[in-house]
């Protein structure tokens, strides 16, 4: 029997409690335990993915009970891919963010790592489970931990952002739970596969329609689809960097996965696209989400907040793609879960590096970044190009599938929204690039220190120079003194940049081995 599906969820769970206990012996220990737990989880996820690719869907019976009676984990190609994405991002972020955590919340770092692991447990559990109620319990864990960690962020505004998120998030979770309640009354089962079989016989039922709308609405609130997105920008902007880096790429993407999972494996695509007539309205909603996200991002003056609105825009891509009602659109949406996870992660890694060196990422603080942090900016530019959709980065390929899907479905407004938002993203990123490249720091241009590939030199004096520059009295401009982030952060960014290119180059392989077999 293969215990890997259980291990990939349990490793971080056990790690969380051991990390909590170890903090009483030695504070540093909890970080290493967290790292080890995530490494084990990562390994298990990769092994599950290879198993699922070679031998098909995997089932794991919790406590040994057969599915409709007990809870099962059921791992299709789709979840296996998302599981690898989650565990890899959570692991890499743990390596990259250790210094940010020290800088921002040093006094309660061990508890931060415990919460972090529990958050990842929630995401992995949501993705692996094959049980509707278990999904709710794990959404509860992810939400509770993310409320807490967001409130740990910005001293002045973090709490309010978290409180907003609590109110809206709780409503979202209750909608989903209510939907599951309706499903249970009409089917008597909580197992997704079992429910799917029973639902085939009662498709006309009004209770099933209500259940479907409630579940999908709940998930939409959690993923911040446009009119329901108001909690997201502040929550992600004011979260501590170490957490923002993992919640921004993963939380919304996992919720998109949940939506796709509910659509494909519980309610069934025939029910959604042939019995119900909601698809056109949802695609229009996605179009508004894309345009609203993109244009609101234009008005932001803070890099983190701009990225948060770009996330709102990207959610529109995925929801729209999934609701186009053809295989191309669904392929694009699923591929975009992977790609957007990677791109957003790279962008937030870069932002975290900048925050580590400069404390703030308002546009006025960004001048001279290309000279000061060339490696970080290289990663940022690559991720930015990927968001815009420039080949060979991965962002291009998912957009390509989405556009093809839109044309096949005759949803020209969706294709137009994709193109317009790409142009807006281009404007956004080139605006940022311009500020970072040409925006000169106060004072006369100073001497140029040649780009030193060793980024770990003399951070403190450079930071000091910056403090002087901000006071506006520096005689030499420090803009061109290199003040790059520590190697661990750069290595993580480099790794993710390579992944962005690789996901682009191998997009065809991913679609053919993972997404298309899943959809059939």
């Amino acid at each position: 029997m293969n215990n890997m599906p259980a291990i990939l969820v349990l490793a971080p769970l056990l790690g969380a409690f051991f990390a909590g206990l170890a903090a009483w012996i030695q504070k540093q220990l909890s970080y290493y335990i967290a790292l080890a737990a995530m490494a084990v989880s990562c390994f298990a996820a990769v092994s599950v993915l290879t198993d699922v690719i070679t031998s098909g869907t995997m089932q794991y019976r919790m406590a040994g009970w057969a599915p409709p009676m007990g809870i099962e984990l059921r791992i299709y190609l789709l979840n296996a891919m998302v599981l690898v994405l989650i565990s890899a991002i959570a692991f890499v972020n743990l390596v990259a963010s250790v210094k940010n955590v020290e800088q921002e919340i040093s006094d309660r770092a061990p508890s931060f790592y415990v919460m972090y692991l529990l958050f990842v447990v929630g995401l992995l559990g949501v993705t692996a489970t094959g049980d509707l109620f278990n999904l709710y319990v794990l959404i509860e864990i992810t939400s509770l931990t993310s409320y807490t960690l967001i409130a740990l962020g910005d001293k002045d505004r973090g709490h309010l952002a978290a409180l907003n998120y609590v109110f809206i998030g709780v409503i979202g979770a209750s909608f989903y739970l209510l939907g599951v309640g309706y499903l249970y009354i009409t089917t008597g089962s909580l197992n997704m596969a079992d429910v799917a079989v029973i639902l085939k016989g009662i498709q006309g039922s009004s209770a099933v329609l209500t259940a479907f709308i409630l579940c999908i609405l709940g998930v939409w609130i959690k993923m911040a689809l446009f009119p329901l997105h108001v909690w997201l920008p502040n929550a992600y902007t004011f979260a501590p960097v170490g957490f923002a880096r993992v919640v921004a790429p993963l939380m919304t993407k996992v919720m998109v996965y949940v939506m796709v999972r509910l659509m494909v494996t519980v309610f069934g695509l025939e029910y959604i696209f042939e019995t119900l007539h909601l698809a056109d309205a949802v695609v229009w909603l996605a179009v508004t989400a894309i345009l609203a996200g993109a244009f609101t991002a234009l008005f932001q003056t803070d890099l983190k907040k701009m990225l948060a609105y770009i996330i709102v825009c990207e959610i529109g891509y995925m929801v729209g793609g999934a609701w186009l009602g053809n295989s191309l659109g669904m392929t694009g949406a699923i591929l975009h879960i992977l790609n957007d996870g990677l791109m957003t992660f790279a962008l937030f890694l870069a932002v975290g590096n900048i925050i580590y060196m400069r404390k703030q990422v308002a546009f006025s603080n960004l001048s001279g970044l290309f000279a000061a942090m060339p490696w970080t900016m290289a990663g940022f530019v690559l991720a930015g190009l990927s968001i815009i959709g420039v080949p060979p980065t991965c962002g291009f390929f998912s957009k390509w599938y989405l556009v093809l899907g839109a044309f096949e479905a005759g949803a020209y407004h969706f294709a137009a929204a994709l193109v317009i938002s790409s142009l807006v993203c281009a404007v956004l990123f080139f605006k940022v690039f311009e500020i970072c490249f040409f925006g000169s720091a106060p004072g006369a241009p100073g001497h140029h220190v040649p780009g030193n590939p060793q980024p770990s030199h003399d951070i403190h004096s450079a930071g000091h120079a910056w403090a002087k520059a901000d006071s506006g009295a520096g005689a030499h401009s420090p803009a061109e003194v290199m003040a790059e982030a520590p190697v661990s952060m750069l290595a993580a960014l480099g790794l993710v940049s390579v992944a962005i290119i690789a996901a682009g180059v191998y997009a065809g392989t991913i679609v053919n081995t993972i997404i298309l077999p899943f959809l059939q």
Binding site: I141, T145, T186, G188
Partner: protein, 274 residues
């Protein structure tokens, strides 16, 4: 804005009403919820698990994986209170009472030290003399509440009860101590370290039992696999496994209740409060 709110509420209400049209009748014995899985549980639970309380069996065995995460949710709540409220800065003002004379001393400078001992007693800002009747009654009640809590935990597989309820009752006995005496008395007896270790250890007992089953070659939480480890009737092994996880749940819930209480009443300072 109010108008939009009204429209949305009406739409949601309409949807919920519309959804009830196809629901089975109230108490209908033929409805899916009472035929699909319930029959299986009612017919097989006693035979498969030897536990007479069906609710406990579904909760701690068939759906034990859910319950494990519910315990983790409780743990998260406690940790969240600690993370967000705990304030390690020393309090600005401190109050002492000179026991023989009853004179109250107020220290405004945090650096001034005074060792609380026989002569001086640490006291709270909103201090009122402890009422002898309340103190005595609570002192008598607390042990019985705790025994009852242990009974509720241990008897969960026979009668209504279990780890969550027992843990809450036990936690409330400790909170009663803090209310009837003062927070200091509680914090002195039940330290923060003790509570956090218990909170983590409680959930760890649950997960540990599951992992032990996995190491014995079964699925996660498959209590049946633990039979070789315990010198008991193998038929009762699932009931014993459930008792084990209920004890874990009880410990975690007890500790988290107290952590939440202490952090909220003392605004994270753990020195004085209700």
């Amino acid at each position: 804005m109010k108008f939009f709110g009204f429209v949305i509420v009406c739409l949601t209400g309409g949807l919920l009403l519309y959804g009830t049209m196809d629901l089975p009748d109230w108490g209908d014995p033929g409805s899916p919820a009472s035929t699909h899985l319930s029959d299986y549980y009612i017919e097989h639970i006693v035979e498969e698990t030897q536990v007479p309380n069906l609710v406990t069996a579904v909760l701690a065995d068939y759906r034990g994986y859910d319950t494990m995460f519910e315990t983790a949710v409780v743990f998260c709540a406690g940790l969240a209170c600690f993370l967000l409220l705990r304030d390690f800065r020393p309090g600005k003002d401190r109050y002492f009472r000179h026991v023989p004379t009853g004179v109250m001393l107020h220290f405004k400078n945090p650096d001034t030290r005074l060792v609380a001992g026989n002569e001086f007693e640490h006291m709270d800002k909103e201090w009122v003399p402890s009422d002898m009747i309340i103190k005595t009654v609570c002192r008598i009640l607390i042990p019985f509440i705790q025994i009852y809590a242990l009974y509720v935990v241990a008897h969960g597989d026979f009668s209504p009860g279990g780890g969550f309820q027992g843990g809450v009752i036990f936690g409330s006995s400790l909170i009663l101590m803090a209310i009837s005496y003062n927070l200091k008395t509680l914090v002195k007896r039940v330290t923060e370290k003790f509570l956090s270790i218990f909170a983590a250890a409680g959930v760890l007992i649950y997960v540990g039992i599951g992992v032990a089953a996995m190491l014995m070659g079964g699925h996660f939480l498959d209590y049946g696999m633990l039979a070789p480890l315990l010198p008991s009737d193998p038929g009762h092994i699932r009931a014993l496994g459930m008792l084990g996880v209920e004890i874990g749940v009880g410990i975690a819930v007890m500790a988290v209740m107290v952590i939440i209480y202490i952090n909220i009443v003392s605004e994270g300072r753990h020195d004085e409060g209700l």
